[in-house]
Every structure is written in C-alpha cells, then in structure tokens.
C-alpha cells in the first residue's frame, strides 16, 4: 500500500516536471506549428545558466528568474531572426531547430563540460515530511508515518501555480484570446488585423522561458548533463502528442498519463517501461492523432 501511494505521488510529481517542459512546447507547436526540436536544449541551457547564477550568488530563487529571462530572450531572438522568415515551411523550421539543437548541445558541452550539475534546494526544502498517515509499525510498536520528500511537493506546487497561471492568461486575458484563436485558425486571426508577429514573439518567448524554468526544476530533481536535452525533448513530444497540441489542459493530462505510466512501469514492469511510453504515443498518433484534448480536424 505504501508502495502504491508513493508510486502514485511520484508519478504526480514527475508529471509536474513533464508538464512544465511540455507546456512551452505545446504553446509554440500549437500556435506556430513549429516543432521546436531545440526545446530540449533550451531546457538544458536554462538549467545550466540557473546553476551558474545560483553558484555565483547563492540565491535559489534568482536561478528561476535567470533561467526564465535568459531563455525568453533566446526565444525572442530565435523567432525574430530565424523563424519569422520561414513561416508556413513547417519541415524547414523543424530542420532548422534540429540544426540548432546540435549546435546548442555542443556549445553547452563546451562551456559547462560533461559533468553533471545539480542545483541544491535550500535547507527548508530538504528532506522528507511526515504525513499523518500510518503505513507500518516498527518492531517496538511505534507507528511509522508515511513520509514524502518535501522538494517533490514543492515542484508539484510550482507546476500547479504555473499551470493555473497559464490557464488564466489563456482564458481570461485578451492576448490569451488571441493565442487561442490563432491555434484554432491562424489565417483568420491575421485577417482580423491583429499583429500576429507580436503574438508569435510573445508565445515563443514564454515557451522558451518555461523550458528554462523546467530546466531549473529538473536539476533539483535529478541532474543536468549532456543528453538530458534529448531526453526531455522526447518526453515533451510524447506528452504533447498524447495530450493534444496547443492545449494547456492537454499538456497537463498528457503529462499525468505519461508520468504515472513511467513510475508505475518502473516498479512493476521495469525492463520495458520506457519503450512503453513511446508505444502509447504511437498508439495515440495512429488512432487519435489530435490527442486527448485536441480538436478533431
């Protein structure tokens, strides 16, 4: 029973991380039809920058800000300098992002080297917290309470806050309305006279910034090292496909599904758990290509 609760919570908190990474990806994908294969690199470099900032200043929260701002700036540059000139050429954009991801990966390796970096949460986040739920008894009869790492709950909290924030922006503000309209029908949105380029830049910047924040969160969770970019890129792809592109709720649902599948898989079916999540993606693509929350075409 303890194992089941733990695994469930682990799946939930892993889903939180996946949601953070995938939310930026789905926004960019949904609005600009741009499969940003460099999204993983933004995750990794955002994490590295946050690490360097935290090391230099010792301020944990500054790392979040640094990651978001630096990656948002990168996003603005990428959109205005490169992708703006390639509108409509989906395949070409994908190729460009592949090239960029190769370059970024090697630059990151050059600057930060091949070691693994970890951002250590401040003391108030360290260790495990006890829940008032009894799961076992020690040999002397004392009850053993269910404990869970605080930092994972913190990550869950961050993801919920950001998720709710994004939902509010998308559904309760004007610019959110424009973004949703653009996801549904880009040509129509342009026809109404809205400066679509501005919307694109904002969305790309936010998407990249979210990737950076996910990088910080991921580095608390596990570690940053070369290869993490590919891993989280693939995870974002799976989540977004399963959940539906352009939908924040879809990203949340997809992340939940994949996070839980991976955690339960790692305990009950460890050998093939990873292959399993990709097969879920294949099944969704084959039979419901628009994803769970996506609009049918």
């Amino acid at each position: 029973m303890k194992l089941f609760i733990s695994t469930f919570l682990n799946g939930l908190t892993l889903a939180a991380l996946y949601f953070l990474v995938a939310s930026g990806f789905t926004l960019v994908f949904g609005l600009m039809r741009n499969v940003n294969m460099a999204h993983g690199s933004l995750y990794l470099i955002g994490g590295y920058i946050a690490y360097s900032v935290v090391e230099a200043t010792g301020m944990f929260l500054l790392g979040f800000a640094a990651a978001f701002i630096s990656m948002a700036v990168a996003g603005v540059l990428l959109q205005t300098l490169i992708f703006r000139h390639m509108e409509g050429q989906d395949l070409r954009q994908t190729m460009v992002t592949i090239g960029l991801s190769i370059i970024f990966a090697d630059l990151a390796l050059w600057i930060w080297g091949g070691e693994f970096y970890q951002i250590y949460p401040p003391d108030w986040l360290f260790g495990a917290t006890a829940f008032p739920v009894v799961v076992d008894a020690k040999s002397n009869g004392d009850p053993v309470y269910f404990t869970y790492p605080i930092v994972r709950l913190f990550i869950l909290g961050v993801a919920i806050v950001i998720g709710v924030g994004l939902w509010l922006v998308l559904n309760r503000t004007r610019i959110g309305m424009m973004i949703r309209a653009g996801v549904d029908d880009r040509e129509m949105l342009t026809a109404t006279g809205i400066n679509i380029q501005f919307v694109f830049v904002v969305v790309f910047a936010v998407g990249a910034g979210l990737a950076g924040i996910a990088g910080v969160v991921g580095s608390i969770f596990s570690s940053l090292a070369p290869g993490e970019d590919v891993r989280y890129l693939l995870a974002s792809l799976v989540v977004v496909i399963v959940g539906g592109m352009g939908s924040i709720t879809g990203a949340a649902l997809g992340a939940l599904l994949i996070g839980l599948a991976e955690q339960f898989g790692s305990v009950y079916l460890p050998t093939y758990a990873i292959a399993f999540s990709f097969l879920i993606m294949v099944a969704v693509l084959a039979f419901r290509p628009q994803g769970i929350m996506g609009a049918a075409k």
Binding site: K2, T7, F116, Q118, Q263
Partner: protein, 418 residues
C-alpha cells in the same frame, strides 16, 4: 611543357624530402593510437583516460625503444560502431603500430573481434572491463593489463558477509552488461560466504527518477548494493537522501569513482562510510601509488584534472606504460608482427601504481584488488580509504577455469543465489 616539368620536379623533391627523415634519425617515428570516449555520457572519464596516456607519454618523453612516439587521438561515444570506426581510422588510415583503448565494455568486445582481423597491430586495452573480452574467444594480439568488472569486486563479498556481518542485501543496478559483471563479481563470493540477495532491481541506463524504486526497496535488509555510475548515481543519492533513506549502502566500483565523490552538494554525503572495492584506492599508502599521484598532478594544471587520478586515468596510464616498457624491453623490435614485443608483454611482471600485475594465458591481468570505504579526507572532501588489499585475483576469481566458464555469461539472473 614547362608546367609539367616543374610539377615532376616538385614531385621528385617532395618524395626525396619525405624519404630523408627515415634515414636521418635512430629509428624514426612510431605512431601510437589512443582511443577513449570523448563524446557522450562517458566524456568525463574518457578525458581522464586520455590524461593517463599523456602522462605516461610525457613521463617517457615521447620516446621508447629508440622510436620517437607520435600520439594520435581518436574519440568514440561508448557505442561499438563508433569505436570500430575510430579504430579503423587509426589502424588502417593512420597506420598506428599499437592502439591503446577502448574505454567501455561493449567497445572492448567489438575491439577484440576487430583485433583478430588486424594481426599486424598490437592492441592494448584501455579500461574496458567486460568479462568476455578475454574470458571467451580472446584475440592473440589483444592485451588487457587492467582487471575486469568482476575482478573489481573481489574481496567485497566476503568483507560484507563476514567482517560486517550483513547477511541480507538488496541490489539496484543499471541494466547493462558491465553492471551485470560487477554484480556477478560481488554476488558470487557473497552468496558463497553465506549472504543472501533478497531482491534485485535492474533499472534501465539513464533512469532519472528513482523515487519509486526507493519506495519499493525492502526495509528488512542490512544494506543496499548500489550499481549505478555517473549521473545516475548522483541522481539516486540525491533522491535517496530526500526520501530520508537510512539503510547503509554498498557501492559498485564506479559508484564511488572520483567523478561522484567529488561532485558538489549533499548527494555525496549519503556515500560516507560506503564500502566498495575496485582496482585502485585513493589513499593507499604505497610508494608506487604516491609516485603516480604526483605524476598525474604534475602533468596537468589543477583545473584540467581531478584532484587525484580516477580509475580511468590509472588504467590507461598502466596500459601505456606497459607498452613503453615493452618497446624499451625489446629495443624497438617490431618485426614479424611484433613477435618479440608480444612475447615480452605476455610474460611481463609489472610493478604498477596499484601493485604487481601479471597476465594469464588469455592475456588478462591478474592483480590485487582493494576493498575500500568512503571517508572524509583531510580537506573535507571524500576519499576511498583502503580497508583491505586482497591477494592477486585472476579472471576466474580463484575458481577452476572450466567450472567458472560453466557458470555461464553474466546476466540479470547470474548468479541465482538461492
């Protein structure tokens, strides 16, 4: 017409110029190839391995056996395909006489088979530690002066079962052949000494989230044998601490490697007191070892190396030094497919930084092994303290060769340990 004549003259002049150096010096240049994983997950150990080669070459002033040594580097990424590509370039294009490498297990297996097709080149292993590279179907020109994964765990099983008295152990290991080998080397003696492997977990390489595995660990065990390396180990230790884990840990050799115990932050605190075993121990008070540590530290500036050499640097250093000593020993005689050199290498008795090394009939090293415990060093960093130095252990772990081979190749279920 003039153009053609000038071109012919140029051709003649260059060929003359190229022919001259061969007659000018003692024996000329000898090309040596070095292969390590400079890309991908093993990039950091690979760099350390290259440092091992360079330290040995610098120590010998880039000369051996009357030759001037020209060192050509090649890089791989731990996949056999890339290693073969790099080896082919070194051997067939650059025409190296001797190739030192590779670093990782599956590369070594591929390299052994490649060596069989290149009888004119001598291959000296770097640190690749798969068992079958020399145990089954060895290549006559492939030499391994470094012990392999199972040998690296020698002494630990008995130490845990008898000295520590821990009779119930759960294991977590990366699900690939090198870790299967390490598990084998630990579990076989451990179970023979009365220990019991209560449960074994095999996690895919590159698993980042160990939270559920940590929850699934049985609580009625005396210790957990941790077979993770690199980033996986740091992740696990971090999450283990966050989950408030208290069961003591036993480490595989690469779990307590330099790259992990020198990593910043709290994760390494979980390693304090962890017992392990391996081909080297950072704090061994031995003249040869101290000499090697000083050489390593002097050969590279402090920000381009670890504080003390990791096992990859040591392995590559020993292999390169064996090559240099061999070349000197046969006075550079490389005739007849390196016959003299190979005889010298097969019969070599090396007084290495990690003790005496000899080769068995499959050209596999027989050497001592170090049982260690992680302790706090003088400057607050962590080091591997020597607890015990075993007798020289061979590849069959002291068993009769036929009986050992009958146990079968390493795998998830080997040994059963019922």
């Amino acid at each position: 017409m003039v153009k053609i004549r000038n071109r012919l003259l140029l051709l003649a002049a260059t060929s003359l110029a190229l022919a001259l150096p061969a007659t000018a010096q003692d024996k000329g240049t000898l090309k040596i190839g070095g292969l390590a994983t400079l890309e991908g997950v093993f990039a950091v150990p690979g760099q350390d391995g290259m440092r091992g080669i360079e330290a040995a070459l610098k120590e010998a002033n880039y000369t051996a056996g009357g030759y001037k040594l020209e060192f050509i580097k090649a890089s791989s990424d731990a996949s056999p395909d890339k290693a073969l590509q790099a080896a082919r370039k070194l051997v067939e294009q650059d025409k190296v006489a001797i190739l030192v490498g590779p670093l990782s297990g599956s590369e070594g297996l591929a390299m052994k088979d490649y060596a069989k097709t290149q009888p004119g080149t001598t291959f000296i292993n770097g640190t690749s530690a798969a068992q079958d590279t020399t145990l089954r179907d060895p290549a006559p020109n492939f030499y391994r002066f470094w012990t392999e994964g199972a040998q690296w765990m020698a002494g630990l099983g008995e130490y845990i079962a008898k000295d520590k008295g821990w009779k119930r152990v759960a294991t977590i290991g990366e699900d690939y052949s090198f870790m299967h080998t390490q598990f084998f080397g630990f579990a076989l003696p451990y179970c023979n000494a009365g220990g019991k492997i209560v449960q074994r977990f095999w996690v895919p390489l590159g698993t980042k989230d160990y939270a559920s595995i940590i929850s699934a660990l049985p609580s009625n065990v005396d210790a957990i044998w941790l077979g993770l390396g690199g980033g996986d180990a740091v992740n696990f230790l971090n999450q283990y601490q966050q989950a408030g884990g208290t069961t003591p840990l036993i480490g595989a050799s690469i779990t307590v490697d330099q790259s992990i115990i020198t990593s910043k932050g709290r994760a390494r605190d979980a390693l304090k007191g962890t017992a392990s075993a391996g081909p080297q121990a950072d704090t061994w008070d031995n003249a040869n070892w101290n000499k090697w540590v000083k050489l390593y530290q002097a050969s590279f500036p402090a920000d381009q190396r670890f504080p003390t050499p990791g096992l990859f640097a040591t392995g590559y250093y020993i292999s390169t030094k064996a090559m240099i000593d061999g070349l000197n020993g046969v006075k550079g005689d490389l005739t007849d497919n390196h016959k003299a050199l190979r005889a010298w290498l097969s019969a070599a008795k090396i007084d290495s930084p990690v003790g005496p090394i000899t080769l068995d009939e499959n050209r596999q090293a027989i050497a001592v092994n170090f049982v260690t415990e992680v302790a706090e060093g003088p400057d607050g960093n962590l080091v591997n303290k020597v607890v015990k130095v075993t007798e020289p252990v061979n590849q069959t772990l002291g068993m009769d060769r036929a009986k050992f081979l009958a146990l079968g190749p390493v795998g998830r279920e080997n040994p059963k340990c019922e």
